[in-house]
Amino acid sequence: MSLRKLVVDWLDVRLGIRDLLEQNLTNYLLPRNINIWYTLGAVLLTLFGLQFVTGILLLVYYVPDTEQAFASVQAIMNEVPYGWLIRNLHAVGSNLIVVALLLHMLSVLFMNAYKKPRELTWLSGFLIFNLTLALCLTGYLLPWSQLSFWATTVATEAPGAIPVIGDDIVRFLRGGAMVGDTTLGRFFALHVMGLPLVFGLLVGFHLFCVRRAGVSRPPFGPDYRGEPERFTFEHEHHAGGIPFFPNYAVKDGAVICFFLAVLAALVFFAPNLFIPPSAFEPADPFVTPPRIKPEWYFLWAYQTLKVFPSELIGLGIQGVFMTLLALLPFLDRSAERRPARRPLFVVCFVLGIVVFIGISVWGHLS
């Protein structure tokens, strides 16, 4: 105990650490009716941290060369002690992250937390979501399996539908006419350095926004009152709320443990749930395996492209949908945040989920 006091005293004199901890932990009050959906941010932070650590570890043995990539991943899986664990945590973890991200976005949407003054939080979160998908896509290519090769071929083919410049975009993405050495080089650079760098900055900004504006009050319960129209910056205090630490941090911890347990269960008992058999064959640019499909979170986009007669219309609809989603807080400007008072919004919300699941299942079965 005295050693701890000694260390804290030393830091306190230099950094004012007690004051910082008080401001951000014990005296940082959250709304009294805060619910479990607010823990997803902490869950995502933990899962991304795990990706960061396992990613660096994989980098120790992975060789980014088309001749050696597949064999190096096989060596990680079969020869390096606990290599299978590190790699499966990384691969399965990415799927769990997409699940958590979707839940996080849906809860923010349902509780209308994206509204003024939190537009920047929403926008940075939306960019983080897109960067995550880009990280998933670039990471998919690295093992240089049949699955990697053909999934990347199909994914990088899509912009080809854009008139005039489409083919140039495809060539630029691939670094050549076909997926090959140059594609692996640029995807590797993006996956391990380029995207994580931007990603880290964005997450920092996102957390800064959350902390600076203050956590939004869940729009439920009889005590809910609308927020006053604001024209100057004001941190949203929640007088009489619960302290972040220990009260809410414990809840954060519990849900983090739940997600880690799900991750462990998948890694130990169903590691191949998200990994089809074509991931176990080395890439062969001359043989397309039958029934090639993207990952489950891209199925909606895949099926949209198939449904419309012109790929350009399919791409356009995806673009419009994503743009609407990004700009939602600037379009939806009413101050009302209670879902019960916004039937049209709730109908769109539920329909959106149903359509997303429906199209994905259709894409999976077709």
């Binding site: 570890l57 120790v60 390096v80 002690p81 606990y82 290599g83 664990l85 590190i86």
Partner: protein, 144 residues
């Protein structure tokens, strides 16, 4: 509840110890695979013997090769007489060079000199070169 009662303090200490214990076990369970993942593996360096062909070592010349993960050198000083040494200088670990004209080893880092039988001729090396066992079988030289 009175936060200062001894009963409360005891429970608190117990819970704290319990949590710290669980945390330590979980931390160890997470770190052990990482440690094993990163630890160098023994298998790669444990080839016991290295077989070389006699033709590879010219008379009065040297042949450098990889022995248990480190550079080594075999010499043919007289016809049919082979000696082998670790090629790592005993000073700071640089790899020695064979100077055929002088029939000696030179370490290029700090000008250490070794004779053809591995003893120090000059310079900073504190010990002679580590000598390796050589056996001859047919036209092969077995080191180690």
């Amino acid at each position: 509840m009175n936060g200062k009662s001894p009963e409360f303090a005891r429970r608190r200490a117990f819970l704290g110890t319990l949590l710290a214990g669980i945390g330590a076990v979980l931390g160890a369970a997470a770190l052990y695979p990482v440690w094993r993942f990163l630890a160098p593996r023994k298998g790669a360096e444990a080839q016991d013997q290295v077989a070389l062909s006699r033709d590879q070592v010219p008379l009065g010349g040297a042949h450098f090769f990889n022995f248990r993960g480190r550079p080594a050198v075999v010499l043919q000083t007289r016809a049919g007489h082979f000696t082998a040494f670790s090629a790592v200088c005993t000073h700071l670990g640089c790899v020695i060079q064979w100077q055929a004209a002088e029939q000696r080893f030179l370490c290029p880092c700090h000008a250490g000199l070794f004779s053809a039988d591995g003893t120090v001729l000059g310079g900073p090396p504190p010990r002679p070169l580590e000598s390796l066992a050589v056996t001859l079988r047919d036209d092969q030289i077995l080191v180690g």
